[in-house]
């Protein structure tokens, strides 16, 4: 019984890590622009595909096992991050910035984000077809066993990465100059340009960081759940968004803990009740939390929230 519980805690940590990583991406963009970037789940999906294509390309030149597997991963990860960032910045440049500069209401930008997500899904469908793709195995799987509790090296990597990303973001946003600029824009979008802060540059930086997060999550996700399809980012993206809201959207700590919380709620419900009721109970709990505390755990009430 105890082993099962410990095993499920590991399961929840790993699954929650993915929610967390995606939720952090939502949170970052929201924190700066007050924009719910609904395309984020699909950027995550595109990142998984970029990783898939690039790994396939590299495997033509080197074997995907042993030391080489790690080299493949070490090259794939930065390349995917760069390419995904370019996509994120491109989306910001063509879809969000024009609207922002015309002073459109935020609601329209959110709807644009939804449409961008659909464009990415269907664009992917057009390029890769609807068949599921298999993400190649690149690192040799090692299973560690601690008295019946089993954890793979990949799971350890996922959990550690999520925590490292969180610490990195906390530091950047709270301790660095650009982080201060980000917080400043979030505080007052109109006054800040007058202070000589290049708003667009900071926004581009935000999208680079957010998309890189999606890239890391996408590649790790592909490695953990190696069946890719064009709609894979949709549901997990929505759930991560909900996790970010419950954690208190706009707050990095909130998004991070919210992701883990959703992971734990989902896993513990299945382990104690029935798997049939997973989403029903999970979202009822989240709903109740929001009703009691509409700003989420760490959020601060702001009248301009949508």
């Amino acid at each position: 019984m105890l082993t099962t519980l410990l095993q499920n805690i590991i399961n929840a940590l790993q699954w929650g890590s993915f929610y967390s990583m995606i939720a952090l991406g939502y949170c970052l963009v929201y924190g700066v622009l007050r924009l719910i970037n609904f395309a984020h789940g699909d950027i995550f999906m595109v990142a998984a595909y970029i990783g898939f294509v690039f790994v396939g390309f590299l495997l033509k030149f080197m074997p995907g096992s042993g030391m080489y597997g790690w080299i493949v991963l070490a090259i794939t990860l930065p390349v995917t991050m760069v390419l995904t960032s370019m996509l994120g910045v491109f989306i910001e440049r063509v879809a969000y910035r024009p609207l922002r500069e015309k002073g459109a209401h935020r609601l329209y930008v959110v709807i644009t984000a939804l449409m961008v997500g659909l464009v990415l899904e269907n664009g992917n469908l057009a390029i890769f077809g609807a068949s599921s793709r298999k993400f190649p195995e690149i690192i040799d799987k090692v299973v560690f066993t601690f008295g019946g509790v089993r954890i793979t090296n990949l799971k350890v990597m996922v959990i550690v990465t999520a925590i490292v990303i969180f610490i990195f973001l906390q530091t950047v946003v709270n301790r660095s100059k650009i982080g201060m600029a980000m917080r400043a824009i979030s505080y007052d979008k109109f006054g800040i340009p007058l202070m000589g802060i290049p708003v667009n540059k900071v926004v581009v930086f935000t999208f680079i960081v957010g998309s890189s997060l999606a890239a890391i999550a996408g590649v790790l996700f592909g490695m953990s759940y190696p069946v890719l399809d064009p709609y894979m980012g949709m549901i997990i993206g929505w759930k991560a968004f909900i996790a970010a809201v419950v954690g208190g959207i706009g707050d990095i700590k909130g998004a991070f803990l919210g992701g883990f919380m959703l992971g734990f709620i989902e896993i513990l419900i299945v382990s104690f009740f029935s798997s049939n009721l997973k989403d029903l109970i999970a979202f009822t709990i989240l709903l109740i939390i929001l009703v009691i505390k509409p700003t989420g755990f760490f959020g601060v009430a702001k009248s301009t929230k949508i």
Binding site: R150, S271, S274, S275, N276, D279
Partner: protein, 391 residues
């Protein structure tokens, strides 16, 4: 501005009506519609259906067409994508029936679409043959709906018996896809059959997941903790590729049995080594086939470059059934409603149809009476015949 918009609207309306006028009065053509998933979760299934159909169409049309009542008719196939969604399958069925005026429909393939699709076909008195659907509800009480595959209530006991004989299993676990009629139905039939053999409570873990779920670690942790003798997985091939590796990571070491939804050419591509040596129930086995079945497999492989999976073979048979039905009609009157009724009567009257998935006849519900096959995935990834099980 407003005028221009009205003009545009009129043009769009006219353009969209062109096919209606163009398609109406061609002589000596029989139209058959296909309600198949060409995008969505299982596009390979739609592709296999289409490829088989194209092969059959070439055969018949190059021989000068199909002879019905002394007149030769060319075949025209209309492929429509149901996106592997129930609501799209309904829309596609309606479009094929009302707009394209097809005489009959092949598909949908999965029960999730075939059950609502069959309702539309039956309400509109249009014959429909589903190649792959195995849930009883698809044809039940619907005289116009037929199928080429055997049923889940039959597949359930086959799975229970095979596991008992082959694995010596006394306890079982099931993991199934909650929002899929096929998977849920089969999980229930299997449980009923297994508990009949080994007593109540012998299915010691019964877990489910949602269509878009990717992590099954907690369900599998529960199953592994219950220590069943084997695990029954009535789930689609793309989920098998996620469930099995996760199960082994979590320490699963028992036997595994799959259902006919594993039978896709993509199973081994997606799942890799973990499915090798596993058994699953299916409709036909490509490796070791003889006679007409072998001929079909060789031709398909030569034309499209891969061994047809069971959907390909069943689509071939479903279409074969419809064509045998057409041949059995006295004449094509041109009155589409009357012809559809005549086709339904004719399919119903088929005494025995020799298909590539076995010889079949139809019972009063429009379900075939035929054998199931159990195959083993070999080390080279082929589906090798293990055992045939008769009803």
């Amino acid at each position: 501005m407003k005028k221009r918009f009205t003009l545009l609207l009129i043009i769009v309306l006219f353009v969209s009506m062109v096919p209606l006028f163009a398609g109406g009065d061609k002589e000596n053509v029989i139209k058959i519609g296909f309600n198949i998933p060409m995008t969505g979760d299982i596009p390979k299934v739609g592709e296999a259906s289409k490829f088989s159909a194209e092969m059959m169409k070439e055969d018949i049309n190059s021989a000068g067409g199909l002879e019905i009542g002394g007149v030769k008719y060319m075949l025209e196939f209309i492929y429509q994508d149901n996106e592997s969604k129930a609501e799209s399958a309904v829309a596609v069925a309606l479009k094929l029936i009302e707009q394209d005026k097809v005489i009959g429909i092949i598909g949908p393939n999965s029960s999730k679409q075939a059950i609502p699709g069959g309702e539309v076909a039956d309400d509109n008195r249009t014959p429909m043959v589903s190649p792959w659907s195995t849930n009883p509800a698809t044809t039940k009480g619907r005289p116009y709906v037929f199928r080429a595959a055997f049923l889940d209530p039959f597949q359930g006991p086959v799975a229970a018996n095979f596991a008992t004989d082959q694995f010596g299993a006394k306890t079982a676990a099931v993991i199934y896809n909650l929002d899929n009629d096929y998977s849920k139905g089969l999980a229930e039939y299997f449980t009923a059959a297994f508990e009949k053999l080994h007593g109540k409570g012998s299915v010691i873990a019964y877990e489910s997941f949602g269509q878009k779920d990717q992590d099954f670690s907690v369900q599998l942790t529960k199953i592994i903790a219950a220590k069943p003798d084997f695990m029954f997985l009535p789930i689609y091939y793309n989920k098998v590729a996620l469930v099995l590796p996760q199960a082994y990571d979590l320490g699963w070491d028992g036997d595994v049995l799959g259902s006919d939804s594993w039978g896709s050419a993509e199973l081994v591509t997606l799942a890799g080594d973990v499915v090798k040596g596993k058994y699953f129930i299916t409709h036909y086995a490509a490796a070791g086939a003889k006679g007409a079945t072998k001929e079909f497999i060789d031709r398909y492989n030569a034309k499209y470059g891969y061994i047809p999976d069971d959907v390909g073979a069943l689509s071939w048979d479903a279409l074969g059934v419809m064509i045998q039905g057409l041949k059995g009609m006295k004449e094509i009157t041109g009155d589409i409603a009357a012809d559809r009724v005549a086709l339904m009567e004719s399919i119903k009257a088929i005494k025995s149809f020799a298909g590539v998935t076995g010889t079949m006849a139809f019972d009063s519900e429009g379900d075939p009476i035929k054998e199931a096959v159990i195959v083993k995935v070999s080390d080279s990834g082929e589906f090798v015949f293990e055992k045939a099980v008769a009803p």
